[in-house]
Symmetry: C2
Subunit: 408 residues, 2 copies
Amino acid sequence: MRPNVDGQRVLADLNALRAIGTYKTGVHKPSLSPEHVASLAWLEGRMREAGLTPTTDGIGNVLGRSGGTGARLLAGSHVESQNYAGWLDGPLGIVYALEAARVINRDAAYGGAAVDVVAFCDEEGHFGHFLGSRSFVGGVSDADIDAAVDRTSGRTMRKALADAGYAGRPRVTVEPGRYRGFIEAHIEQGDNLEASGQKIGVVTSIVGIWQFKIVIDGVQNHAGTTRMAIRRDAGVAAVKLLADLHDIFPRHIGPRTVWTVGRITLEPGAPSIIPGRAEILFQIRDDDLATLHRLEGVLRETAAAHAANGPCPIQVGKLRTSVPALMDGGFQAAIERAVAHVCPGKSTRLPSGAGHDAQVLSTVMPAAMLFVPSIGGISHHWTENTADADIITGAEVFVAACAEILIA
Amino acid sequence: MRPNVDGQRVLADLNALRAIGTYKTGVHKPSLSPEHVASLAWLEGRMREAGLTPTTDGIGNVLGRSGGTGARLLAGSHVESQNYAGWLDGPLGIVYALEAARVINRDAAYGGAAVDVVAFCDEEGHFGHFLGSRSFVGGVSDADIDAAVDRTSGRTMRKALADAGYAGRPRVTVEPGRYRGFIEAHIEQGDNLEASGQKIGVVTSIVGIWQFKIVIDGVQNHAGTTRMAIRRDAGVAAVKLLADLHDIFPRHIGPRTVWTVGRITLEPGAPSIIPGRAEILFQIRDDDLATLHRLEGVLRETAAAHAANGPCPIQVGKLRTSVPALMDGGFQAAIERAVAHVCPGKSTRLPSGAGHDAQVLSTVMPAAMLFVPSIGGISHHWTENTADADIITGAEVFVAACAEILIA
């Protein structure tokens, strides 16, 4: 079955959201900024037009509930953006979900089955870490909100919610048993689809992200008067450890593992002072939990060996972990059936290297994601884009996949 | 000849300077701070008591001129400190010079020979790079002073000079032919003397410092969605280059070379973003100019090889160089004759790994330095110290060395 998707309506909605908080060809729409709040008000209006009943809750989530008595599916993503970033990261999944509700909910052919639409607040992490979707599944306390602060502006989340007019509202949590599951569309943010000429990525899993901080203690001293032989240079120890890890890690990784050293800080960081301390942010992502555990072991063993054989103690601390989230197998098959209707042969299965609200929803219901191609693999930048034709193809597959799930 | 040095007077003067701007057991006395200016006023008073005629000039240098008609030697160092640092770095050489003037200038046995005492402003580089001593030898323009800004407080040097009451004063420059040379005493700031049980370091040369900035251009991207194979990670390139340099440099250095990576900056420096740019501060010090040139070549060749074989362009920029300064051979011999009188066998020749005003003075007259032991090799920290007995021995050798030079 190929649902009657209105591609121009999808593009018009995406451009309407881009027109609120425009930055170059993208947007600047941080969580709970006036532009974000205005976008949520726009979304409420579009939900009502689609026959949904919208509620914006006490953490800035917007849930549009359908009437009807048949099977229900929850679909959505997020509206806010990274700072000075792209127009599709978030809104694509929102507008696809709106289109699915518009096409399916009032069509008698679906026998009362319907799509609810949701926009989760702060997926981009201005205030925290998936606060909106975690609130929806019951994982955020009032104290968590009390403590949350915008990392760019310093505004508290309480102040931001009050400024938006959301203070004091109840928070909406998931209604048990209401949904067959959750589906989210998103731009790929990588170049796999573009490089292989595919139009749809069927997400198999969302990677676990394990973030470590490595701290090396040296002895700060004068860079002119301290002989090389007696130095305990934390920076040298950091470079040697990292060079070694770059050699060793490839022998232990899985086929999709990525790992990144995002920051190296030497203290005090002056040209003529031997660094007394080094701090390294070291991140590993993989969709296989056993691989993550194995790589943590490699990291810790390598660091311990360097500490034992070098002049500086080394501590490896774990800042944050997340469990890889498996996407539902039945939903993946439903997306592939939709592809077979819309653009046969044009999909590939792949894991998501980035985190998404779907990983949070997957803890309480079956969840799925589909990706559309990112031009040049670019995201988190105002040049982020997807060809209009690919956006429309993605919408057709998304709505067809919702239908496949609802009528299964 | 063993001059009649008053060790307790030397210690009392050093403690009097420590009492102005005390920080724990050290001092916080940045250039032209109220505490520095008060210390210079104190110094003027001590100069007058010693029969010297003091002039504090338009850049904060204090020169105490002796009368007399015989041979003259210039002696001194600096009064200001690094931020929150030690009590001896600078003041030791000032008080030794005062003591030399007190002992020698009014003693008929020296036939009218005399020591002039000088305190050069900003040896510690709060506003620039040896501005006081370079002004004294004619190497600083008014425009240089106009441009100078305190790197900690942001106060301009013009404002600081006005606040001190020095604005509009002429600057004093060296009087050609007046001096046999310049001599400066200093704490070693390293552990050579302590480790070898010596009491006096006879400085052979002051190292040249060559400061480089290495810039590596990568491509910033998402740390989750960008496959390892297509990354152009500036941080990885930096680590590989530095690890290689740590392996290669030891094969090319001289016996006294030191080199230091004081800072590594990855941009943007976030846990989930592949670094798009790396900046490295790389410093080489040696007392041999040919060695410095050779090591610059090794650095440039290694960086070029990494750029050619890796995914990231690498630029090596030279921020600053200085020519190694040779200390006068006759003066070194005079210091060793003084050691033979005061503490026979207790000296060693060594280069200075740190920069000092003596390297600037050596461009216009014979210059010499002697070091006393630093406990634990510590300096630029409030715990910096030297045993009282070693301070007194150093004063005796210093005054005897001045006498040796003046009567030669």
